[in-house]
């Protein structure tokens, strides 16, 4: 090991440093170098000591929090596929089938997104930022497992370039890049991603896996199933949305467990709550956004229950809104993105609450978009600086009032 490190420091490093042959590619070298070992820099001036946390550690902890969602998503994709095709399958068979569907999406997302990230880093001569690790993983998790891979590539390109890099990279972006990418696909290719129908899987999806598992899947077409949100939104006036959901095989239990068709990572409430607990314990993501978001969602749901609206969706109990669709995944992993969310503590409470209530408002009041979480978060991303502005102004006002009181005393 030591020999390798010495070789890196003495032979490879000079090639990339100033005056070296590959000077322009320094960001690439720096990323690889600090990926396998922490940098050896010392503090230039006071304070002479620094905390042992850095951004790499910060970002990798978000990925750790996503692990339950990823694993469950892989199993669920396989399970849904096999159920829809009437194949009796074991746990392993489900996992293999799911992995064959999900892993290529994650791979394409990282590969294409990574290329853009490296390209911008080299042209702009800044370091490759770790924030991309999280974006590249969040994006596949909010896609249906059967999305064509070229759409994944197009989507992540849009998210990284338009959502992030044209503003200057991680730390400067206004919108959450992963959600920007999804919103782009949502409006550009609604057939494959729209909220009302999710493709469970086509039978001739992957002949290699068929061979591996010994399943015979010839001559069948694409099978699609509706998500709970679509069912609830389509409920006729006067009917009960809960009954409609029950008729389509959705109840509170399976929506909490998550073994229903939907986006890869966002179906299981339990997996998301595990990630949420991890994020709150480690203090990486803001609990203010998550808690106030859930409260906002519940409050708006209750309000619709009380209001005399002739909309079956409005009569749905508030806890259904929390477990249904992508809301919980959105509020835990997307809304808490520290760059695009509000920066002040009070602002975070307001921001989260508004996301929760807007989600329910969009779901119930707008029949065109059954999934409101994505649009609510993107809208509040844009509004976050405004929320912060008011919080900062009130802080300044309080300071001035205090100073005046001191002067008068």
């Amino acid at each position: 090991m030591k020999f390798l490190f010495d070789f890196m420091d003495k032979k490879i490093a000079p090639l990339f440093e100033k005056g070296g042959k590959f000077e322009r590619l320094y960001p690439l070298f720096e990323a690889g170098d600090t990926f396998h070992r922490t940098p050896g820099d010392v503090t230039p001036s006071a304070p002479h000591v620094r905390d042992s946390i850095d951004q790499k550690r910060l970002m990798i902890f978000v990925i750790y929090a996503l692990i339950p969602c990823i694993l469950f998503g892989i199993w669920n994709a396989g399970d849904q596929f096999n159920m829809a095709n009437g194949i009796e399958a074991t746990l392993t068979a489900n996992l293999v089938r799911g992995a064959a569907m999900v892993l290529p999406i994650i791979f394409v997302s990282y590969l294409v997104g990574g290329l853009w990230e490296v390209l911008f880093a080299i042209v702009r001569r800044h370091e490759i930022n770790e924030g991309f690790l999280v974006t590249g993983m969040l994006f596949p998790l909010v896609l249906p497992p059967t999305i064509p891979l070229w759409q994944v590539a197009v989507g992540i390109s849009f998210g990284i370039v338009i959502g992030k890099e044209i503003f200057g990279g991680v730390g400067y972006n206004i919108l959450n890049p992963a959600l920007t990418a999804r919103a782009f696909l949502f409006f550009a290719y609604p057939a494959q991603i729209s909220g009302d129908k999710v493709w469970v899987g086509s039978l001739n999806a992957n002949p290699l896996v068929d061979k591996l598992l010994g399943t015979v899947t010839e001559g069948a077409d694409v099978i699609s199933q509706a998500t709970p949100l679509a069912v609830a939104a389509a409920t006729e006036k006067g009917a009960s949305a809960i009954d409609a959901l029950k008729a389509a095989d959705f109840d509170l239990l399976n929506m909490t467990l998550g073994n229903i068709p939907g986006c890869i990572g966002s179906t299981s409430v339990i997996a998301i709550v595990l990630g949420m607990i991890f994020l709150i314990i480690t203090g990486i993501a803001s609990w203010r956004v998550m808690i106030s978001g859930i409260i906002g969602c519940a409050a708006m749901g209750l309000l619709f229950n009380v209001l005399p609206v002739e909309n079956a969706f409005a009569g749905l109990p508030f806890y259904y809104h929390i477990v249904m669709g992508g809301f919980l995944f959105g509020i835990v992993f997307m809304a808490t993105d520290p760059v695009s969310c509000a920066a002040t503590n009070t602002g975070k409470l307001i921001y989260g609450f508004l996301i929760g209530s807007l989600t329910v408002l969009i779901r119930v009041a707008n029949p065109a978009y059954p999934e409101g979480a994505m649009l609510a978060i993107l809208f509040m991303n844009v509004m976050a600086p405004l929320v912060d502005h008011f919080v900062v102004q009130s802080h300044i006002k309080k300071r001035t009032a205090y100073a005046r009181a001191l002067n008068n005393a």
């Binding site: 090991m1 922490t38 820099d41 001036s45 905390d51 042992s52 370091e127 930022n129 730390g171 920066a343």
Partner: protein
């Protein structure tokens, strides 16, 4: 009377010394310091000055703190459990378990500089009623009016030493505030 302290001093050397003002400290440092590259800080580790190993005892100097120049590089440092490193955030197993040893801190940056991403962490370590994140942003934008409104005139760069310490993006908060204060002085506001 001076105190010599810090992990860079041999166990027996960590004590008070009676020295004449103006006397050279070279023999003292040679005897008491551990081998290897050491940084001698006059004052405390958050806001002291670096002094050379052959400097003299100053009228105002009462404490010398010696830290190891930690240029070590840890393999896969971003994902280790972090049992043997101090962090004020709950991302190290040591902090999560509430382990309480005498930590040996060095001068390592423990990471490289990045744009500000996480917000609100620094305010926890700010004893004054100051919005640290926004004050830094105002200072970076050379917005003197907003800096003053946010209360920069009540502060000293040293107040932000703890914020610098905990910042995961390795922002030089003290330096930014210092520059901001200098700018205000230049403009004569």
């Amino acid at each position: 009377m001076i105190a010599l302290a810090g992990p860079g001093v041999k166990e027996v050397g960590r004590k008070y010394y009676r020295v004449e003002i103006g006397a050279t400290l070279k023999p003292l440092f040679e005897q008491a310091l551990e081998a290897g590259e050491q940084r001698i800080v006059q004052g405390n580790i958050l806001w002291g000055d670096i002094v050379a190993s052959d400097s003299c005892a100053h009228y105002y100097s009462s404490e010398y703190f010696v830290l190891e120049e930690d240029r070590s590089r840890h393999f896969m440092g971003w994902t280790t459990p972090g049992l043997f490193q101090y962090s004020s955030h709950r991302v190290n197993l040591s902090t999560m378990l509430g382990m309480n040893h005498d930590w040996k801190l060095g001068t390592s940056m423990h990471g490289s500089h990045r744009a500000m991403v996480v917000t609100g962490w620094m305010d926890k370590y700010q004893p004054l009623n100051i919005m640290t994140d926004y004050l830094i942003r105002a200072a970076l934008a050379h917005d003197t009016d907003e800096m003053i409104q946010l209360g920069i005139l009540e502060t000293d760069p040293e107040d932000f030493a703890l914020a610098s310490f905990v910042d995961p993006h390795k922002t030089d908060v003290c330096g930014i505030i210092k520059k901001g204060l200098e700018e205000i002085e230049e403009e004569g506001i």
